[in-house]
Amino acid sequence: MQVDLGSLGFAEGGYLLVKRAVRGLAPGDSIRVSGQAADLDVHLRAWCRAEGHRFDWQATPNAVRGQAVIHTGAAETERWAGARHVSGGDGEEDSVAEHPPRSWGLAARGSIIEAGTPEFDFTLTDKLDVWSDDAAHIYQQAVAAQWDPETAVPWHASFELSDDLEDAIVQVMTYLIENETAALIVPSRFIAQLHPHFREVMQVLAVQAADEARHIEVFTRRARLKRGTLGRSTIGGQASLKTLVDEPQFAVASFLLSVLGEGTFLSLLWFIERYAPDPVTATVARLAAQDEARHVAFGLAHLSQHLAREPEFRPRLAAAVHRRHDALRHTAGLNDEVFDALLLMAAGSWEHDALRLGSRRIMQLIHDMDEGRRKRLVRLGFAEHEAADLSALHTRNFM
């Protein structure tokens, strides 16, 4: 075989042509390389030495400076001898492995990976624990549904609320910010533990964290729209959220946060949207609710898949609800300030009839939240009575 580089310098890209030619050869085979570029012999010799090829230079008296004979070495073949295809190995390039080795590290699914790559400290490495066939679809939906806080919310809409009502909204926003911060931290923590082989799950969690970042932004902006100071944060609320942040198991955390917590929050956000006294509050609640619905959908999707393959995992999820309930038994749960603020918002004024109506609406909200939780628990295969029991144990802090 002959490669003529003409006037092309070896370092200018000529080496690519030589590499391409060598790649097709078996160790021990030889090729001839010729060219007129100055330094070709020097560069070829140095390159061959580094690459493990044997090199001879034959100077020629004519216009062509000379030509090299390269006898290919075995290094390239040896480097890739133990390489593996990064996939589940069922013949499909992009199939997902049940237990991807930690040494696959950051390698893209479908790539060829050199043997001997270092092991990463990923802890979520079993498909069973994290995977959902719906993840790719949910991710696409999430990306398509991204909204810009600057333009999606009518920040400049004109409205005037009574001081008490504005205070109530600020308190509700303060509470939402705190909860959404927990909802940002929990998936973020698991992203770092997740084997990137489960790419779509990683992407869903990443966009989920980004969603929460926007929620925190819009709730903060609404709270500060007419006030310099935010509302109150309580021991009970923080204690409840801390149990979520501290939960070490992905599936359990996902169950408590996405299915039960964010599921309950869905009812709350739609409630706020419905009874908000101003267009800004209504809009931020609606936008957040739309995102939260996806978070709930992903939680349900991967837990359904998990439970279909490992039904014995169900009692452990139930035990987690009991455990959390016990841990929070001695805390106040939802702080009075939030509950009162929601009631005043739902009432719209201090009038007796309005307060009575607001109170009924709150009762309806509690009922809706419970019903939603029970439905989702039944979807995960819990019996009706189990679902009712577990729903009743859910934190009084809603999330």
Binding site: G9, F10, A11, E12, A38, D39, V42, H43, R45, A46, W47, R49, A50, E51, G52, F55, G73, A74, A75, E78, R79, A81, G82, E114, A115, G116
Partner: protein
């Protein structure tokens, strides 16, 4: 078998992971092995001559130092193994394309930039090449030395990079570097295309080797050599070490590639005082 203690020079931080990796490789194969790092080759040559280490990973200059000390003491030095990349190197003498220097003779009364004073590839061998062409350093031309890390025998690339930069800035009329570094500097952009040209190339020569002196248990040395030669680039555990050390395979040592350097140190008297000093210490 007694524990085999190897000496190596710490010319870069990567030296530690390299020899730690080798240590694990040898110990996993029941060769009792340890290593000691030196800050310079002279200290390592002396330590070997005095029996403090059994085998040394020597630069070509350290090999010649050891060989000459051994000869004076009536002992025998052997180069047992080297890298495939230690064979058949060349140095090149570069000039600026527009520098008006067409031949080696044109370097008379000019400035030639070189690497560290003890660098075989960037100083001793190319200066000897010029001397062979009737140009004596510091007599027929000025030597501009870039003495990066003296004692490391040019293992550090910095001196050659500085020499090339001096050439490009017009502070020198020629610069001497290793062929592989010429390729590297062109690829990284230190040497812009067409800014320089190669005026001359030295003959081919060899570089580092594992050196042993007589008196070390032959079975242990044989096992060490055998295990080195058995290292395969196909072995994923070994390959990162070989990549770090810059080789694809270990090959048997040979001493036929040190003639140019030997001639250079004879001509310049580079190691005479050092060799005599160690000889006195060892007598």
């Amino acid at each position: 078998m007694t524990e085999l203690v190897l000496g190596a020079v710490a010319y870069d931080q990567k030296v530690v992971p390299i020899w730690d990796g080798f240590l694990q490789y040898f110990r996993a194969r029941d060769l009792s092995f340890d290593y000691v790092l030196f800050s310079n080759y002279e200290r390592q040559v002396e330590a070997q001559a005095r029996g403090h280490i059994h085998v040394a990973w020597h630069s070509p200059l350290a090999w010649l130092q050891t060989e000459r000390i051994a000869t004076r003491l009536g002992r025998r030095a052997e180069a047992i193994v080297m890298r495939d990349t230690d064979r058949d190197l060349r140095s090149v003498i570069l000039v600026r394309a527009d520098g008006g220097i067409a031949s080696i003779a044109d370097l008379r009364r000019k400035i030639v930039a070189v690497g560290a004073r003890d660098s075989p590839q960037a100083t001793l061998i190319p200066l000897n090449h010029l001397a062979r062409h009737a140009l004596t350093p510091e007599q027929d031309f000025t030597v501009r030395m870039f003495d990066t890390l003296v004692g490391k025998h040019g293992d550090h690339i910095g001196g050659e990079r500085d020499a090339v930069r001096a050439l490009l800035r017009g502070e020198a009329d020629a610069a001497c570097i290793l062929d592989a570094n010429h390729l590297a500097f062109v690829r990284e952009g230190t040497l812009p295309a067409s800014a320089t040209r190669i005026l001359a190339q030295t003959g081919v020569y060899d570089h580092c080797n594992f050196t042993v002196l007589d008196g070390v248990e032959p079975d242990t040395v044989a096992r060490f050599r055998e295990l080195l030669l058995a290292m395969s680039y196909a072995d994923a555990d070994v390959r990162p070490l070989l990549d770090l050390e810059g080789l694809k395979a270990w090959v048997p040592g040979r001493v036929t590639g040190y003639a140019q350097l030997s001639e250079a140190i004879d001509r310049f008297g580079t190691i005479d005082a050092f060799v005599s000093g160690v000889e006195v210490l060892c007598r």
